[in-house]
């Protein structure tokens, strides 16, 4: 359990950034939105305000100018600060979205990305899952080469060879699970994208007639 919380705390900053890019908001509402979108991630209440503090220090978010943009004002209650992302915050978020594709993808992180992704940008999310897939394929290839190099060097006894075989199978199965999970995620997203396009299609065609 402890590890789950720690895992979530790690990417809370990016999740808050993503939500603020969508819509500038107060800490209170951010907490609510996190619970709605990433209920399974088990964030504690107050995670948003802690994340915002850290993001403020790194100048990735700033208090929004409510006077200039009255549509952001929170009506009623006591005065609350509305936060928005800075351009470097947007940059940081975009980098984070791409960063994990080069390493074995952490499921929680990809979950968070999928949860934060706007439906309009589905093709790009599909592209990122694709990149992760390719990265895993390449890494499986590297792991295979390393395994063979080790095997060809060693003068192993029968028992050692058996152990090598078992370890090798374990490693391969680990990659197998990741690759197949990514494949399923991508195929699901692609189907979803096709479905939405089919839904949007007739409306777009009707538009000029009006």
């Amino acid at each position: 359990m402890a590890s789950t919380v720690q895992q979530s705390e790690m990417s809370a900053g990016e999740i808050v950034l993503g939500l603020l890019i969508e819509q500038p908001d107060t800490c209170y509402h951010l907490d609510k939105r996190i619970a709605e979108r990433l209920g399974s991630a088990q964030f504690s209440r107050g995670a948003a305000s802690r994340a915002v503090e850290r993001l403020l220090e790194r100048k990735l978010v700033r208090p929004a100018d409510v006077e200039a943009r009255p549509e952001l004002r929170v009506v009623g209650g006591r005065k609350k600060t509305v936060y928005e992302t800075t351009p470097s915050g947007v940059d940081h978020f975009e980098r984070w979205l791409r960063a994990s594709t080069q390493t074995p993808p952490v499921r929680e992180e990809l979950h968070a990305k999928i949860a934060l992704w706007g439906s309009a940008e589905l093709p790009r999310l599909i592209e990122i899952v694709r990149e992760a897939e390719l990265a895993c394929t390449l890494q499986l290839g590297d792991a295979n080469r390393e395994m063979r190099a080790e095997r060809q060097m060693s003068e192993a006894s029968d028992w050692e060879r058996t152990m090598q075989l078992i370890v090798s199978a374990g490693e391969a199965t680990w990659w197998d699970a990741r690759i197949k999970w990514l494949q399923s995620v991508r195929m699901y997203l692609e189907r979803e994208h096709a479905r939405r396009q089919a839904q949007a299609g007739p409306q777009r065609r009707r538009a000029p007639a009006r």
Binding site: E133, L134, N144, M147, R148, S184, M187
Partner: protein, 252 residues
């Protein structure tokens, strides 16, 4: 490259009902060079067999090209384009450059040695064909299976017999469909190692479809296939040095 199989921008779809089509391969490009094993990892019903059938020239892609040694195998004109292509390439009808095998029970229940020899009699005398079959079985380490029937073989032996059937026809490219699915850990290891050494010794290009990453361990390159999209390791990847801190000293 000489003797390499190439798929470039291949699209394939099957009709489903009157209105729909199932996209099986979407813009798939792939090269298999002599002496290397390329393993395609995919889940069930993701187009592994279709990919191999296209590569073998048994199925014509909707778009894109399939070539062997630089020749587009669908571009020559004639009644049977693929056979014309095969004959032109090697002169003998039974000696085809691209062979697709899968472990399936033969149509006639004869000892597997005879089963392998039978198609070879189209080009060779019976005794020569039998000898070729025997030699192929020896090469894959299944010499003792020659007199036995398919039903009496273990899964590991069947995989070897299927490979022997492939190499008995002396191909340049061997396509192996789903050989390892039914095999256990030890057999998978042995059969994949066998393919690896056959490729290296004969300069044979091997394209093998597998359902599990454990069967990719002895392949030179890995590809993954899902939703029609193929992810492939490029042929010449910059090798990551095992010990990045060790440098070669000039003259050392």
């Amino acid at each position: 490259m000489e003797g390499s199989l190439g798929l470039r921008g291949v699209w394939l779809s099957y009709p489903r009902g009157r209105r729909h089509v199932v996209r099986v391969l979407v813009d798939v490009s792939l090269e298999v060079h002599p002496g290397e094993v390329v393993a395609v990892l995919a889940q069930r019903a993701q187009g592994k067999t279709s990919l191999l059938r296209v590569a073998a020239g048994m199925e014509r892609p909707d778009r894109g090209s399939v070539s062997f040694a630089g020749d587009d195998i669908w571009r020559s004109h004639g009644v049977d384009r693929r056979r014309a292509f095969n004959r032109r390439r090697r002169g003998r009808p039974s000696s085809v450059p691209i062979v697709l095998v899968r472990p399936a029970a033969p149509e006639v229940d004869v000892p597997v040695g005879e089963g392998i020899a039978l198609p070879l009699t189209a080009a060779h005398r019976g005794s020569v064909a039998r000898e070729l079959a025997e030699r192929a079985l020896e090469e894959v380490g299944a010499g003792e299976c020659a007199q036995r029937r398919w039903g009496d073989l273990s899964d590991g032996e069947r995989a070897r017999v299927a490979i022997a059937q492939g190499i008995s026809r002396d191909p340049k490219v061997l396509l192996v469909d789903d050989l390892m699915t039914t095999l256990g850990l030890g057999d998978t290891e042995e059969v994949t190692m066998l393919l690896h050494s056959l490729a290296a010794e004969r300069g044979l290009g091997v394209l093998v479809s597998v359902g599990d990453a454990r069967a990719t361990r002895w392949s030179d390159r890995v590809a993954t296939l899902a939703g029609g999209a193929l992810m492939l390791e490029p042929p010449s990847r910059p090798q990551v040095p095992a010990y990045p801190n060790v440098v070669d000293f000039p003259g050392g």
